[in-house]
Amino acid sequence: MAPTLRIDPRDARPIWRQIEENVQHLVARGALPPGASVPSVRDLARELQVNPATVSKAYQRLTDAGVLSVRRGEGTFVSDTPPPVSDSRRNGRLQEEATRYASLAVTLGASREEALATLDAAWSGLTNGGAGSESSELEGEEA
Amino acid sequence: MKGFLAVFERELAERRLLAAMGLGFGIVAVVLPLLPGFQRTGSTLAELRGGLAFAVALLLSALTAVYLGGSILASDLVERRLGFYFARPLSGWALWSGKIAAAVVLTFGTGLLALLPAVLFGGDLSLAGYWSLNRMGQPEGFFNVGVGLLFLLFAANAVSVMVRSRSPWIAADMGALILVWAVLWSAWYRLVLAGVVDLARKPQGVDSVARAWAVWVWGPLAALAAAGAAQVLLGRTDLRRAHRALSATLWSLLLALGIASQVFTLWMVSAGPGDLAGVTQAVAAPAGSSPWIAITGPAMNRSGYNPGFLYNVDSGRVVRAGFGLASRWWEAPVRISADGRRAVWLEYQERPFSSPLVLHRLDLDRPGARPVATAISYQGIYQSMPKGFALSPDGRRIAAVRDDRLTVDDVATGRLLASVRLTGDLWSSRPAFVGPDHIRLYQFAARPSPPKPPFTPLDYDLDISELDLATGMMATTGRLSGVRGFVGIPSPNGSRIIMRTRDQLQLHDARTGEPLAVLGASKKASASFLSGGRIAVTNPSALGGALELRVLAPDGVAELRRFRFENAKELIPVDQPSPGSLRVVTSGTEDPRSPWEVRLLDLETGGVQSQGTRELAALVPPDDDHETRISLEGKQGVVWTELSTLRKRVILKDSGTD
């Protein structure tokens, strides 16, 4: 079965954006390898319980960006050569999450060094698990 | 159309059970008479089956009509299930008509199915001898039943919605019902009082009451149907709004019907002399004494409505008087006194034929006088209605034969002055005043069977008796032999009478009946009394082509004067402006509508003076083609045939003319 996406109503991003970026991340992480099939607009909409127009918009943008490609009569697939995530968006995303992490650390009373060290450890943990990690869920924040 | 069919078929399918029930009960009706305990009270098996089946069918249909009428729309409305239909592309019309059509089919269907086994197994459905229901078993009866069932259906819907909506609007419904009922009933009752509903009168022209009937039957039905449609089309899914739409439509339509009924009734009873198809009865005072004449006849297009009028030929004044209803075609119960000052007549107190006849009077010499009901009334139905009642010359006393008595009353006070039991033939008894205190009574000596009206050629003997009011005693005074009914012309003082006896015009002593003289031998001869006891006799001239008027002495023999009128086909004495003169009218044709020539005859000198021609209103009976109308406008007098004497008479208009 395809990897599961979650839609978060508390996320500031519109739903189509969430879908778009989630797919991009899955592709970037390798959880969706090139050439893998993606659920149809209909199926994904039903599964996520969202408006198909929303899924359609996300898919359209992904197709335009070259992340997905549509093969007539066969369905939608990850393109063979997905482009990397664009710099500005990538950077913005990184910055957002970093700000969030930093704010959390401050709230918990951690020092800068402690925060960095913890981050380092987490990074190692991820890369040590490898690109072929089974876990494909986008991890939520642990408050 | 497809929506209608879908609803219609669905409703039928859901209620298949009713059909089964109809058939089942029909079979029971066929089987029941076969059971041992079932007694046959003189009817055949077929009649029993037919009667039972009919009763069952009627009952089932009625119950179905009420049940379906009250539930097929109302239940869905009350239980809020109409939303299902209104959320579909189904028009309000299709919904309403589909459901109603199904209800109608089921109502009549259950009845017919209940009748079916009886028909198949030889039941007698004509109900000839069994139930004695009026017109049941005949097509008309079925039609009435059908209308009744439809009414039940629509009314059940209306009542069901009104009651189940539990809205205060129902109080308004009740009020409206009472109002509408009052309006309709009062219009209806006025028609009953006018005698156009109960009586089988021959309609002249359009039978408007029959048409009104159709409106009264179908009108409320249509109003109920329209109200039901409005309930669906305007109220849609909301119960209270549906109730309001239903009520508003129903009561406004019924009120309109009520108002139309009132207008119709008003039109009916406002018939004037000009609306008469013909005059069947005209009664006037003795010649020359009064310009008033009482006329009655059927009104055009009014289903046999028979109004009565008192008409003043001089002034044209018309007074309505209700003797028309009490009139028979040979007798109008209205009299004008010999001095021309008073008219009396009989009017039904309330419902024609089932209420007493009350004597009314009108003082003709007072310009502002109105008809007044006296205290004298005659009870009874047709047979015992006073026949031949007579008014004294001064108009103060009234004599009438009622049942087996001759009664004399004082008109003004209503006091009974005399009441004498009669023997002899009551049907033919006719009173006549001889002065204010004596009443002469004529009766057939041997009763003919059946009694014949005055102008059929049969010879009778008349017994003459006289009642003395002072003594209250009645005695036989004589007999008239060989006379033709009551076509008798009395002399002004009552001492002599002219009768048609054995084809001749004869002068008799009025008291003893003794023949005194033959006045004329021709069938066309007619006679009248002049002042001083002289007699004027009119015959066709022996030479032909002309009419003769002979003035005879009181003995009826000696000829005093003779006048000859060339080319005259009709000659009618009118009045005597002075004792020495006689005014007559003549006409060259037999058509009374042609102009008449007025002539003044000088009885002393034999001179004839022409006074010009006049057009007279002919008061003739209705034609078969229902076209005749009485036209009084612009005429200078009236001419009619007096039924009590079989003479033609004329009243000339004397005010401001000539």
């Binding site: 039903r46 408006n51 198909p52 127009a53 | 299902f84």
Partner: protein
Amino acid sequence: MNPIVLEGLTVRYGDRLALDNVSFAVPEGSVYALLGRNGAGKSSLIRCLLGEQRPASGRALLLDRNVWTERALALEEVGVVSEEPDAPPAMTARQLSRFCSRLYRTWDAAGLEARLRRFGVSATTPFGKLSKGQKGQVSLALALASSPRLLVLDDPTLGLDAVARKAVFEELIGELADRGITVFITTHDLAGVERIADRVGVLRAGRLVLDEEMETLKTRFRRVSFPRSQAAGAARLEALAPVAVAARGWEVEAVVSNYDEESFSASRLGGEDGEDPEVSVLTLEEIFIALTGEVQEVKA
């Protein structure tokens, strides 16, 4: 052509105004969610929309037809699921299908039966004997079987358990994906409709206080929380022009409807000892409560 257009719809019951000059349009192919508390006028609006009631003024157009005067024509391509699913109780789903098939130009009886199987509802049980949820599902199946261009749903998930609710949404989404229908839905299930609606309308006391795209709505509403201790709170609060304010023991929460990321950060409510106020996204339910709930005092 907008499948639904309401123009100046006003409904009165005696003196009470149930709907006050309500106007909006539902664009073709969109999902429009109408929200409102009980008694806000939703039922009156739906009744006017379906031609069951005549508005005191204004009109409702379905597929460009005045629905009061041309109801039967207007409903030819519209599927309706009422709040209280009604149908003749003696009729089974199959009989209802046969009845309705005669009213529409196209009718997919097989598809209806398949849908019922998916729902797990029997096609041969009399309608009156079904549970409320099952009745609603049958109604939905009947509404979809005519392949309508427009679906009007009045609280279709009321009384349904989570599984049934999911099934209903899945059917709707399937139709949306397959045929691009327009959906008009009133509901109390704000979480469910949040993901699926393109546009939102909010009725409050008969007035339409909101008629907006879901995306922009969620973008401009934010909750701003800052500690009570911040002395300049009251002034700051007023400067935000909040829609609703809630005072908790330790902080004050304000719901703002005019959030703009850039200008907000620019105005920097940080202040002297400033902890920056926390800005968080609101769910549709929270926005709804803020718009239609009690107005709370602004406490200094």
